[in-house]
């Protein structure tokens, strides 16, 4: 049986968080370890829960997603972070996210197939790391 992937969701929109929870619930074998409404909470919760994957919005009031991405990758480079944004066509924002270490930039509205494929790649990596550790 596949082990569960721990995911932290970060978005200032409650509806977007609810939608992501529903999509990930449908994929299955995923544990949502936290819901953060902004960048500062994301940094704190990532340190506490050490998720396998963070799905984080770029544009948020207060500390934005790119600033939080920089801090989390600096503190915990092993955590995979995918940015979700309606600005994915703006090459500059997406490029900045990749430069800061994002493993993917997912556009809004969501393409569920892309989220599934992202989860699959994290699951594969997770399984490989667990096997190597034995």
């Amino acid at each position: 049986m596949a082990s569960k992937i721990n995911v932290l969701l970060v978005d200032d929109s409650r509806t977007m968080l609810a939608q992501l929870e529903r999509i990930l619930g449908d994929i299955g074998d995923i544990a949502i370890v936290g819901l953060a409404g902004g960048g500062a909470a994301a940094i704190r919760m990532a340190s506490e829960s050490r998720p396998d994957l963070v799905l984080m919005d770029i544009v948020m009031p207060g500390l934005d997603g790119l600033s939080a991405l920089r801090t989390i990758k600096s503190n915990h480079p092993e955590i995979r972070i995918a940015m979700v944004t309606s600005l994915s066509g703006d090459g500059a924002k997406a490029e900045q996210a990749f430069k800061l270490g994002a493993c993917q930039v997912l556009g809004k509205p969501f393409d569920v197939d892309l989220i599934e494929s992202l989860i699959e790649s994290v699951r594969t990596e997770h399984f490989r790391a667990a096997t190597e550790a034995r």
């Binding site: 509806t15 066509g89 703006d90 556009g107």
Partner: protein, 277 residues
């Protein structure tokens, strides 16, 4: 699903991975000349002027070129010449990936054609907009994309109607959410609607049931749809070389002037208000 840049399209198509794109971006950053470098090479600016502009950027949210012009260190026409030069010399990401051996050169043209076909649905045609409206390019993208977005993400049929001078908030406007878009000037895009439209939008766009929703969550859903719409419009504008910044939704929109765009919708009532600031 939305507007995307070529590197992201290649990742989604499984042609390259994020590491390849990151490497290509680093290569492009090293190879593509900066505005300041070109300005110095052309004799338009001195090295000290470049330092002065970079220092100024720490306190001002302006591009290097715009700030250099504002500080009187570069002429507007010189900036246009530099930007043309920079664009003509810029190595695009596809070529960078080929150069680094991450993409076969004979696949580049084919993949770029597929990318263009994928993005063709986001092309916008000319629609008449009032004089005095700021960020006209992105405002046009907003109005062009709106009916397609409502249909695609919420299955709500709609049609953009006439544009009038805004004189009062419509009586039906129980839900009012706005998003600010900033370029050289700014435009505030507000979606105003009755509760029936807002609830249908929130439910269908996010797969929620009526029992999941309270009035705050309905407004949040409308705000997120508007945010996604404006973000995609901004991305379309950026593709045309005009970058703008999109702010988070404002749920306490203070509507007092601008233009109101009639919106014929299959569920409830709605309109868009555009205000310049």
């Amino acid at each position: 699903m939305g507007v995307k840049f070529f590197g992201q399209f290649l990742i989604e198509a499984g042609e390259v991975d994020a590491g390849h794109v990151r490497e290509a971006l680093q290569f492009m950053e090293a190879e593509n000349p900066l505005i300041g470098q070109i300005a110095v090479a052309k004799g338009f600016m001195q090295a000290g002027d470049v330092k002065q502009v970079r220092a100024g950027q720490r306190n001002r949210d302006l591009s290097f070129g715009d700030l250099a012009v504002e500080l009187g260190l570069l002429g507007s026409q010189q900036l246009v010449e530099i930007l043309q030069d920079q664009r003509s010399r810029r190595i695009p990401i596809g070529h960078a990936l080929v150069h680094l051996g991450h993409l076969a050169s004979d696949r580049l043209g084919l993949l770029f054609d597929a990318y263009k076909a994928d993005q063709a649905q986001f092309d916008v045609s000319e629609i008449p907009l009032p004089d005095g409206l700021a960020c006209r390019r992105v405002a046009r993208h907003v109005l062009e994309l709106l009916p397609r977005f409502l249909m695609r993400i919420a299955r709500i049929q709609s049609k953009v109607g006439e544009i009038h001078v805004f004189d009062q908030i419509p009586e039906f406007a129980e839900v009012r959410v706005s998003v600010s878009i900033r370029g050289r000037r700014g435009v505030e895009v507000a979606l105003v609607s009755d509760f029936e439209f807002a609830e249908a939008l929130a439910m269908q766009a996010f797969g929620l049931s009526a029992s999941d929703l309270d009035s705050e969550l309905v407004a949040d859903g409308v705000g997120e749809v508007l945010n996604v719409l404006c973000g995609n419009a901004a991305s379309g504008s950026a593709e045309e070389g005009h970058r703008v910044e999109v702010g988070p939704p404002d749920y306490d929109a203070d509507l007092c002037d601008g233009w109101i765009v009639d919106l014929a919708v299959a569920t409830g009532q709605a309109a868009v208000v555009l205000s310049t600031f």
